[in-house]
């Protein structure tokens, strides 16, 4: 025993020396394989918003509001890109304090052709992160469709990206407070889904219900568009989660596998629940389950194995289903496309459960040094609470501030006639 122990110590020492000698110089260089995969992932994550999420949401609204939903996504994607270049990236990722990054990279001025971030060009890292900054506020569109004023949406989300998304990104991925606590959030359970979900709930409450909610609404106008959009989200999510490994490596491969398994499991769970309850398995139901499974696995995707993915798919499917019923049915909150119930609840569930599922008990890839399941759970829990508090307070204040400049909602007549024609002068469908 004693001999064996010594032997393994020596082996570890040799490995450490080997890593120090050979690996570090390699990591300082830009790696072609890693760069190729993150280039691909960046395109995949933008594809999630344009047109994935846009179509997913567009199919779920009335045919008189389909253009407005697509327009909101497109304009938002362009606006966030510019915010990100001017100041967002700098405040999220350059050296600052616990709460916010600095202004050292304003207009991305320190990014040069050969500047590296890990093993990829920093220009690529900044673009990859830009696509996350785009999809997070875009997810919130689902909370206020069919009634928000277009100009109000632009002002609100402009401020929201700077005051909610950018700081929380800095806390988790930019070396801020949550990262110093040791919070595990691989691809954005906190950064993306908890912020967007919470923001959506607050927005729905502040903005109020649509006319006719919940009794006399019109059903989703095209489950077909919704299925096409959802499928694009699924594919794009490979870039989102496996891309978050920031390299073409073993971690990326495992992240892709667990992402897929969780999505498939939650889809089936949702389908069977509806089949049992209403007698029919529905298309809108199964694809909603898919989104729930993907949101749930996101924070955990770099830390868990196959058993963890099955558990998250099952848990996310059941809990998000119950959350939809509870928020829309019981509380009667018109979070119109269930952003909080699906993204918020899923993202938070995955953020909390990763503390246990990353352990070897569930074939996970391990917790940070010195943590047990319970102690890590506490870290995760604190991180979720802080994120929810920050997001709720500032989302509410930003909405109130926005309402000083423009009314948040369109007038009643426009809501009845549809946003497409009155706000944008276009119709989604012409019958002749």
């Amino acid at each position: 025993m004693q001999n064996q122990f010594n032997f393994s110590n020596i082996k570890n020492l040799l490995i450490t020396i080997f890593l120090c000698l050979f690996s570090f110089p390699a990591f300082a260089e830009i790696n072609n394989g890693d760069t190729a995969w993150i280039l691909t992932s960046t395109a995949l994550v933008l594809f999630m918003t344009l047109p994935g999420l846009a179509l997913f949401y567009a199919g779920l609204v009335n045919s008189k509001n389909v253009v407005s939903v697509l327009m909101q996504h497109f304009a938002l994607a362009c606006m966030v890109s510019i915010i990100w270049v001017i100041i967002g990236y700098s405040l999220a990722f350059s050296e600052g304090n616990d709460w916010i990054g600095g202004l050292g990279n304003i207009f991305m001025n320190s990014i040069e052709l050969e500047t590296a971030s890990g093993s990829i060009p920093e220009s690529l890292f900044a673009t990859f992160q830009m696509t996350f900054a785009i999809i997070t506020p875009a997810l919130m569109i689902g909370a206020f469709v069919e009634r928000i004023k277009f100009s109000a949406m632009l002002i609100f989300l402009f401020l929201w990206v700077l005051i909610v998304y950018v700081p929380v990104t800095h806390w988790v991925w930019g070396g801020g407070i949550l990262s110093s606590w040791g919070t595990m959030d691989f691809a954005g359970g906190i950064v993306v889904h908890a912020t967007a979900g919470t923001g959506a709930l607050v927005t729905a409450l502040t903005l109020g219900k649509r006319r006719g909610f919940p009794k006399s609404l019109t059903p989703p106008h095209s489950p077909i568009l919704t299925m096409i959009g959802a499928s694009m989200l699924w594919i794009g999510w490979f870039g989102f989660n496996a891309g978050s490994a920031l390299g073409a490596n073993a971690g990326a491969g495992m992240a892709m596998l667990v992402t897929h398994i969780s999505a498939a499991t939650a889809s089936l769970v949702w389908m069977f629940i509806e089949w049992k309850r209403f007698g029919k398995p529905s298309l809108v139901g199964i694809v909603t389950g898919m989104v729930a499974g993907l949101a749930t696995v996101t924070p955990a995707s770099g830390y868990i194995g196959v058993p963890g993915a099955l558990i998250l798919g099952l848990g996310g499917g059941v809990l998000c289903y119950l959350a939809v019923d509870f928020i829309r049915g019981k509380l009667q909150i018109d979070d119109s496309l269930d952003v909080f119930a699906v993204h918020g609840v899923g993202g938070i569930l995955g953020t909390l459960l990763v503390a246990f599922l990353a352990t070897s008990t569930f074939s996970g890839l391990g917790l940070p040094e010195g943590q047990s399941g319970m102690s890590q759970f506490f870290v995760q829990f604190k991180a979720v609470i802080l994120t929810i508090l920050w997001t709720s307070v500032f989302t509410y204040l930003i909405l109130k501030l926005t309402s000083l400049f423009v009314s948040l909602r369109v007038d009643e007549q426009e809501e009845i006639e549809g946003l497409d024609l009155r706000s944008h002068g276009e119709k989604g469908y012409h019958t002749d």
Binding site: L60, P214, S216, L217, T218, P219, P220, P223, E274, R277, F278, K280, S282, V284, G285, T288, Y321, V324, D325, R328, G329, D338
Partner: protein
């Protein structure tokens, strides 16, 4: 001359068309319409929420025929559009006081 307006289930259009051409009807007009009758609407369920759709899609068929064909057309419509289920539709018959074929200027029965 008689003018028929029949509201039928959309999937019955082909049956209705062949039944009518069999008895010598030489033209009809069909349009997609929405409405409700005793069938009321229908219920759809999305994400656990029930949506009542108060207007059901139907087809409206319009036919103009000489007086002596009224009985046969009525019978053919009744037979071909029926499923025996709720929502089969209605047949309305109106007196038609004039008809003209635009190309030739022919009128009345010659125009049908």
């Amino acid at each position: 001359m008689k003018y028929f307006i029949a509201i039928i289930k959309p999937f019955k259009l082909d049956d209705v068309r062949s039944a009518l051409t069999e008895i010598g009807v030489e033209g009809l007009t069909a349009s997609e319409v929405r409405g409700f009758g005793r069938q009321r609407g229908q219920t759809e369920i999305y994400r656990g929420a029930e949506y009542s759709v108060s207007f059901v899609p139907k087809l409206k068929i319009e036919i103009a025929v000489p007086d002596e064909m009224e009985k046969a057309v009525h019978e053919a419509l009744l037979q071909s559009a029926s499923t025996g289920q709720i929502g089969d539709g209605k047949i309305f018959v109106l007196d038609l006081h004039s008809a003209t074929r635009i190309r030739t200027g022919e009128t009345e029965n010659n125009a049908l």
